[in-house]
Each structure stands twice: as structure tokens, then as C-alpha cells.
């Protein structure tokens, strides 16, 4: 099922085409030195095998900014479990946002990243986020709270990732 009884969407799908190798895109998703440079700028920590842990920790800048707005962050802001890791093609993890108790209390969600090489050195990166029952998280990753300072969600992150890989610097950098 992709919809709830109320008809609210619970799966979101995003695709971006990036002129980069599958390995470069894989690294940009799974290595902290890359993830600190685009989107929400956290440090990822993946144990890339089934059952391995997945954690995201905030950068010092992100932590300081959040604290200045009266919202101190926990040491780990996202946690999950690696379900499948097939470098550089497919990564499936569970995903739980811990930034506030309301979000941490929602059901665990699932994110799939798929990288498919195409013509002319361009790859398609598809992110599928299964969000059953996680309505607050769905609104945040869907970009609904961007005007309130919550960032533009997955579309914003992927746009920034593409810019970083293709030009060497990100909008948020």
C-alpha cells in the first residue's frame, strides 16, 4: 500500500540525473566528508552490511545554528539500520529522525537509493522514501516546512548533491 485510509501519500519518489560516475555518487551518499558539504550537512556513519548501523551526526555549524535558535540537538540526529548495501548501485536503510521527540516517536521509515548509469556518463539517482505512518517526517522531507527553516527536504538535498558533484561546490557550502 502506498496510501493511508485518509488518502495521504506515504511513499515519496525523487529522481535526479547527475553527470558523475556511480562510484562518485555512492561516495557522496555514504561518506561523511561528502555529506558534510551539501543539503543538511550532517556526518553520515554507515556500517555497510545488512544489519549494520546507520547514524548521522550534526556538523559543528549545524549544531551551533540549531542551538542559537533555541533547539539544541542530540549527538545523533538520524539513526537506522542498513538492510541492503550493493555498492555502487543500491543502498536500503531504515530511517528515524531524532531531532525532536515528536519525530522520534513516529514509526521507522525506509529509504532506498538506487544508482543507474545511463548514456554520456550521466547516472540516474532515485531516492524512494517509504513513510507509512510518519506524517510529520513526510511533511519535512517533502519540503513543506521550508519557509520555517526546516530545509527543502529530499528535492533540495538532491539538487544540492548534483550541484556539488558537477561543479565542485554546493549552494549550502
Amino acid at each position: 500500500m502506498t496510501t493511508t485510509a485518509q488518502g495521504a501519500t506515504t511513499t515519496q519518489v525523487y529522481r535526479v540525473y547527475i553527470k558523475a560516475t556511480p562510484e562518485a555518487i555512492w561516495d557522496a551518499i555514504t561518506k561523511p566528508e561528502w555529506t558534510a558539504r551539501y543539503g543538511y550537512t550532517g556526518y553520515v556513519d554507515y556500517d555497510l552490511r545488512p544489519g549494520g548501523a546507520y547514524k548521522v551526526r550534526p556538523t559543528p555549524e549545524f549544531r551551533a545554528g540549531s542551538e542559537a535558535r533555541g533547539n539544541p540537538l542530540p549527538d545523533v540526529i538520524i539513526e537506522g539500520e542498513v538492510l541492503e548495501a550493493d555498492p555502487p548501485r543500491k543502498l536500503v536503510t531504515t530511517f528515524r529522525m531524532l531531532m525532536d521527540p515528536g519525530l522520534a516517536g513516529e514509526p521507522v521509515t525506509r529509504i532506498t537509493h538506487e544508482i543507474v548509469p545511463g548514456a554520456n556518463g550521466v547516472c540516474a539517482l532515485t531516492l524512494t522514501h517509504e513513510l507509512d505512518g510518519a506524517h510529520k517526517l513526510a511533511a519535512i522531507v517533502g519540503g513543506a516546512y521550508e519557509a520555517h527553516g526546516a530545509g527543502g527536504g529530499h528535492a533540495w538535498v538532491l539538487s544540492d548533491l548534483k550541484t556539488l558533484l558537477e561543479t565542485g561546490s554546493a549552494f549550502t557550502g
Binding site: T2, V13, R15, G143, W156, S159, D160, T163, F171
Partner: protein, 100 residues
Amino acid sequence: MFKALADPTRRLLLDRLFERDGRTLGELVAELEMTRFGVMKHLRLLEAAGLVVTRRSGREKLHYLNPVPIRLLHDRWIHKYAERPVSALVDLKRRLERGT
């Protein structure tokens, strides 16, 4: 992408997917005064433009609105001109408050 957005039926399809995506072709056809073939043709064009992404779920092919191409346009053009001055003001405020 602009060609894909230039047609009112295709914009209507995107509006429908914005309200609730993950819909089948059948569901989309039921809401439009158009043949199945016509809707398929428009969906193919939207998919080719990257604005719609399909995903298999069992026997069904579900259609999702992909906001990334529009986001890229926003980040490239609007962000560049509208948000840089805002962040410059924020930096200025910080510097003034620090007294440096």
C-alpha cells in the same frame, strides 16, 4: 521540461499527482475526460521530462510527481538572486552583533 509543462492536460496531471501521488494509470484516467491512450501519451512525455517517475508495486505501475527538476530550476535561478542577499544580511547581522 518547459515543453512538458506547456500543455494544460499535463499540468492537470501534475496537479493531481501533487494532491496525492503513487496513482495508477487507471486512477488518473478516471479523473480526466480523456482516453486511456491519451493519458498514457501525456504521462510518457512527463516521464521523459523527468517530472514523473514510475515505480512497480506488485502488478501495478504507480506514478509519482518528481519535484527535483523544478527544484533545480529554483536553486539555479531564484535561489541565486533572492537568497544570496538574504544570507548576506544574516551575515551582516551576525557580524554587527559580535562587534567585529
